[in-house]
Amino acid sequence: MANDRVVEVKELTKRFGELTILEKISLVVHRAENLVVFGRSGQGKSVLLKCIIGLMNPTEGKIFINREDISKLSIKNLNKVRKNIGFLFQGSALYDSMTVRENLSFTLKRHSPQLNSKEIEDKVVQTLHLVSLADAVDKMPSELSGGMKKRIGLARSIIIDPELMLYDEPTTGLDPISSKEISQLILNLQKKLNMTSIIVTHDLICAEIIADRAIFLKDAKIAFEGSIQELTDSDNSFLRNFFSHEIIKETGV
């Protein structure tokens, strides 16, 4: 199974000044697996994803993507690795001076310079269909709702056909129906494109739909690891509290 390790994090520690955000985190994600990362706000979930993609450097520890140590790569080779990775930002991070079409085509054009403009346009439309937003193609990001932005952000990150997707809170701030739709979409993508994914969330419904396996970050460490069932059935009082609260919040009771 060693060949199957798409992401391997070894004893990752991240500090900002005195503050330790992550301490000796180790995890492995195998091909075509969906790993969900739970944790309360400010527990370093986004920091973990940013270390994996090389936007932040670990204070200690190593990160391997397809068995390559990314801290040892030149920027050129790191970019080669990144060309196989999609990243959905917490705030979508759409380029707000560009239309939806340009957001997608700009990314695709630079990813695959060999494509002609017809091929790019086709792929843009096709990807927008995947997220059911083909009619938003000429809109500016400022004209989109939060849920639409998330979908366009998703479309922009999958247009390059990544092997690995990193999702930072894909459903946070969405209504329960959109949130379910997005989760379903992520699951379909994984099945259809055989993608490997790491999904950061605190949305239990989303996790139940997507997750093959979950970890729970607490106080800079991995507090729990297992299936969603195991996590929710756990008699640890902190977890019980976390998930019961989440369920109440998500169903709007």
């Binding site: 940013k50 993609i53 936007l55 970019n79 080669k80 990144r82 060309k83 990775i85 990243f87 930002f89 917490q90 705030g91 991070a93 759409l94 380029y95 707000d96 001076s97 990314t107 630079r110 990813h111 390059i160």
Partner: protein, 269 residues
């Protein structure tokens, strides 16, 4: 590229401000080297540079036109009685033209440009930074420094000299309006006097330094925006400090460049 961090917070002491001042100077120096390292690497992003130049032209055309006209008018209005007192009214067109060409045109245009453009770049890149758009480029294997910073700095460096020449022309015309309010002078005669007074050697250093000013406006705005942190507050800070720092640097470099020109070509002085 390793950039120093600034100290932000509610209550900053004098030492924090002094610290930040030096952090900005050293950060700008690093940023500057990065610019020259990346500016000539392909792809050159010509289309993006042209787009920015267009936008900058449209954005500043109105304000520099008015500024130019007023500089010329006021300068002529102020000089006229003084020159008359010394019986040197004939020198008026030449005097207006020389002041505008050598100093006022380039410097005032640059300061206006800094106010309008440096703040704009600071705010634009700042908001791209805090909303993670710059990170999004980076993870898409796009070089954000090249695409966002280099293109903007080249655009400001190229457009400011053009604007300055335009302002000089407008200001000289403005001077003529002031003259005809007070006395009768034929436009042909006015222009002839201007051309006789202004030598090529006056024109070159005046316009040449606007390349430097344009570069300052671009690089300062881009640096402040690119390194913005701390949400919307950080964007505001990037925008205002860009104007302050670029205006200050324009004045400092003006002084240095004037000194250098006088030293290299003493005959111009």
């Amino acid at each position: 590229m390793k950039l120093p961090r600034h100290r932000y917070g509610r209550r900053l002491s004098y030492t924090d401000y002094i610290y930040n001042f030096f952090a900005t100077i050293s950060g700008l120096t690093v940023f500057n080297f990065e610019f020259f390292k990346q500016a000539f690497k392909p792809p050159l992003e010509i289309a993006e540079i042209k787009k920015h130049m267009d936008e900058l032209g449209v954005k500043t055309f109105g304000i520099v036109s008015i500024t130019g006209l007023i500089i010329g008018l006021v300068l002529a209005m102020q000089s006229q009685p003084v020159l008359q007192r010394f019986g040197a009214s004939d020198f008026l067109p030449g005097m207006v033209a020389l002041s505008v060409v050598r100093e006022l045109g380039p410097v005032i245009t640059a300061l206006i440009f800094a106010g309008r453009v440096s703040s704009g770049i600071g705010a634009e890149l700042g908001s791209m930074r805090v909303t993670e758009q710059i990170d999004a480029m980076e993870v898409s294997a796009i070089n954000p420094f090249k695409f966002l910073v280099v293109t903007r700095v080249i655009a400001t460096t190229m457009i400011l000299p053009i604007l300055s020449v335009y302002v000089i022309v407008i200001a000289i015309i403005g001077g003529y309006f002031a003259v005809i309010i007070a006395e009768n002078m034929n436009f042909q005669y006015y222009i002839d006097s201007v051309i006789r007074a202004v030598q090529f050697g006056d024109f070159i250093p005046g316009v040449a330094k606007t390349f430097v000013f344009g570069y300052i406006v671009g690089i300062v705005g881009a640096y402040k925006g690119f390194t913005a942190e701390g949400g919307t507050e950080g964007v505001g800070r990037a925008s205002t400090t860009s104007v302050v720092i670029s205006s200050l640097l324009i004045l400092i470099f003006d002084m240095i460049l004037v000194k250098i020109t006088l030293w290299l070509w003493p005959t111009i002085g």
